[in-house]
């Protein structure tokens, strides 16, 4: 059988192609373009191949920022995920109290990120901030603008305050979806609270927890606004993460070539991580239909 091929169908795809081109392909290609050239001015540009890539991969400051980034993400994940589960489990399953708590927990998620930074910048100030003053009045030598450990502590606390709610909301919805009969069966089988968590809740929360970890991992790897407002990357470079280092390179020092190479590496790194993680959790998704 011969089918008449109607090429006009391609016209239907044009709007989408246009949108994708404008939003993703063209900006990305611009960056690729920058990353392989050394640009002096409009008429003076030299093709440099992979030179910028080699330079940034060997950059010790970037290595330091990367390690800080990994440490930060590991820290916030290690706190936010278990804390979120604990809070969600402690909440009543239904009723007006549960609704009230859900609204309460959603508040930090609704605050613009730079406002979160500003809130904590003031909240943690040792001279006028409530948290900072409380800590100093306890006799602690606390100053997040001067001491790197204090700066880290404040940043992690801020991120936990900002994002644990997301984990709580996700886990709460996951817990609600578990039929009552599972708990009843486990009770009859003689399971204790820990075993119920281990054998009923945890397996059935797998998908939801996977999504929570994925979202928090992506976001924490790209964190920019809050530390920019709170510490500005300091004291010294102690809270300079990848995105801040990138911004400083691109906008501050106007090193467009290395910054473009850096952006691409950064982008591919997060993409790979998320893809790896996604493929890890997606087979679990198929199993939990009933």
């Amino acid at each position: 059988m011969r089918k008449r091929i109607n090429n006009r169908a391609w016209l239907m795809v044009l709007p989408v192609l246009f949108l994708v081109a404008m939003s993703a392909v063209i900006p990305l290609m611009t960056v690729v373009n920058y990353s392989v050239q050394d640009i002096f001015d409009d008429n003076n540009r030299v093709y440099v191949g992979l030179e910028w890539f080699i330079q940034i991969i060997r950059d010790p400051e970037l290595h330091a920022a990367l390690w800080r980034q990994i440490l930060f993400s590991a820290n916030v994940l290690a706190i936010e995920i278990p804390l979120g589960i604990l809070i969600a489990k402690a909440m009543p399953r239904r009723g007006s109290v549960a609704t009230g708590l859900l609204i309460f927990f959603a508040i930090p998620l609704l605050i613009p990120w730079n406002v979160v930074g500003t809130i904590w910048q003031i909240f943690a100030r040792p001279d006028i901030g409530m948290a900072g003053m409380s800590l100093t009045s306890l006799g602690l030598d606390y100053n997040y603008t001067a001491n790197p450990v204090d700066a880290w502590f404040t940043l992690v606390a801020m991120d936990v305050w900002h994002w644990t709610s997301l984990v709580v909301l996700l886990v709460f919805s996951g817990l609600r979806a578990i039929p009552e009969a599972y708990y009843e069966a486990a009770q009859i089988d003689g399971a204790n609270r820990w075993q119920m968590f281990r054998h009923i809740e945890l397996p059935r929360l797998k998908t939801v927890l996977g999504i929570a970890v994925l979202l928090r991992l992506m976001d924490s790897l790209m964190i920019y606004t809050e530390p920019f407002v709170l510490t500005g990357g300091g004291p010294g470079n102690s809270t300079t993460f990848l995105s801040q280092y990138l911004t400083r390179m691109a906008v501050g020092q106007f090193d467009l070539g290395p910054a473009a190479a850096f952006s691409l590496v950064y982008f591919i790194m997060i993409l790979t991580l998320c893809w790896l993680f996604y493929s890890l959790i997606s087979p679990a998704e198929e199993q939990t239909e009933r």
């Binding site: 009969a181 009843e184 069966a185 009770q187 009859i188 003689g190 399971a191 054998h199 009923i200 397996p203």
Partner: protein
């Protein structure tokens, strides 16, 4: 296995508050060791609540629950040694079938070697020994339900096995096989089984004794045969049998000579027939439908629907009348009911006359 007794058990949700709802009223039951007992009733009659009380998931607001004479009202499900199979298979999906069966034993700190032998035995009994190493996710509902039954059977100290509509979710073609298996195991191992269902056929084929529940009460506990022949309550008559009992108010059927105080006469479809001949105590009816179910010696047999005044009546008989014609309904020894309950003394007398 054990003897389970319920003494005057009542239960209300949200007891002693404004939203108190009474769901069970004055339930008394005696389920001897090794018997198959069914709780039969429409949905919302409190069957599942009663099961939860027996398994220990709920503590009754009133009354006593005795297992082998020991009061267990406040014992936790774990202390009670009662197993339950749910409407849909409840399995631990992340572990193998073997681990699913071993789960109740591990929780009770049974030694490893014993766990192995008991799981193997149970799996052989249920014919799932070839599935032991696999996960539960790919199994059919029939096999899944067998695994959940296995979690009950694997505990050899279990006092009773409660089954909450265990066939509901099972594929229609496998329902019969699972029911057979249940009955077989119950008899072979002389298990005490309490089976909740809304399906009279399931209850009648499974249980020696059936308790019919209605609005939170047990209105009759009897053998399947007794439920058909001597329904204690109008509702039992109506609920049991396919189709159920016909009822006529006694004030319009004086010819049946109802005893004093009777409000309704009830008779099963096979206790009456419609013919063109007017008999001694017959009622004039209009034939409105005939539904053939079988043939016997060249004649159609089945269900005949007729109307007496405004009441539809069904009889099981041979279908030789024309739809739309007028005929006569002959009733053979009806039961009489007063305020819902059957009047016993009188019924025995009429049966003697027949």
């Amino acid at each position: 296995m054990a003897h389970v007794s319920l003494n005057n058990i009542s239960h209300a949700y949200n007891a002693n508050t404004d939203s108190e709802t009474q769901v069970l009223t004055d339930i008394s039951l005696d389920i001897p060791h090794g018997s198959a007992h069914a709780l039969l009733g429409a949905s919302g009659t409190g069957k599942t609540t009663l099961l939860k009380i027996i398994s220990g998931l709920l503590i009754p607001t009133e009354g006593d629950l005795l297992v082998d004479g020991r009061r267990v009202n406040t014992d936790s499900p774990r202390e009670r040694n009662i197993a339950q199979v749910f409407q849909f298979p409840v399995l631990y999906e992340h572990i193998s079938v073997f681990e699913n069966l071993a789960f109740p034993l591990r929780n009770r700190k049974v030694p490893l070697t014993e766990i192995h032998t008991r799981v193997k035995q149970t799996a052989e009994l249920l014919e799932i020994d070839n599935l032991l190493s696999g996960k539960t996710t790919g199994l059919s509902i029939f096999d899944k339900q067998k695994v959940s039954l296995g979690r009950a059977l694997v505990r050899n100290d279990v006092s009773a096995i409660l089954l909450d509509e265990p066939l509901t979710a099972v594929e229609p073609s496998a329902k019969w096989r699972l029911r057979q298996k249940l009955k077989e195991l119950q008899q072979e191992l002389s298990l005490t089984m309490i089976y909740v269902t809304h399906d009279q056929l399931e209850a009648m084929t499974f249980a020696e004794q059936i308790s019919v529940m209605h609005e939170g009460r047990i209105i009759q506990t009897a053998s399947p045969r007794e439920l058909v022949e001597k329904p204690q309550h109008e509702h039992v008559g109506f609920f049991i049998g396919m189709p159920g009992m016909n009822f006529l108010p006694t004030d319009s059927t004086a010819c049946l000579s109802p005893p004093k105080g009777a409000t309704k006469a009830g008779f099963r479809p096979d206790q009456a027939f419609v013919s063109t001949k007017q008999g001694h105590n017959s009622l004039q009816v209009a034939v409105i439908d005939q539904q053939a179910l079988s043939t016997h010696l060249g004649e159609s047999w089945g269900l005949l629907t007729c109307k007496y005044q405004d009441i539809e009546i069904r009889t099981r008989q041979h279908l030789n009348l024309n739809v739309g014609s007028t005929a006569w309904l002959h009733i053979d020894n009806p039961h009489f009911f007063r305020n819902g309950w059957r009047m016993t003394g009188q019924a025995e007398v009429t049966q003697g006359n027949a």
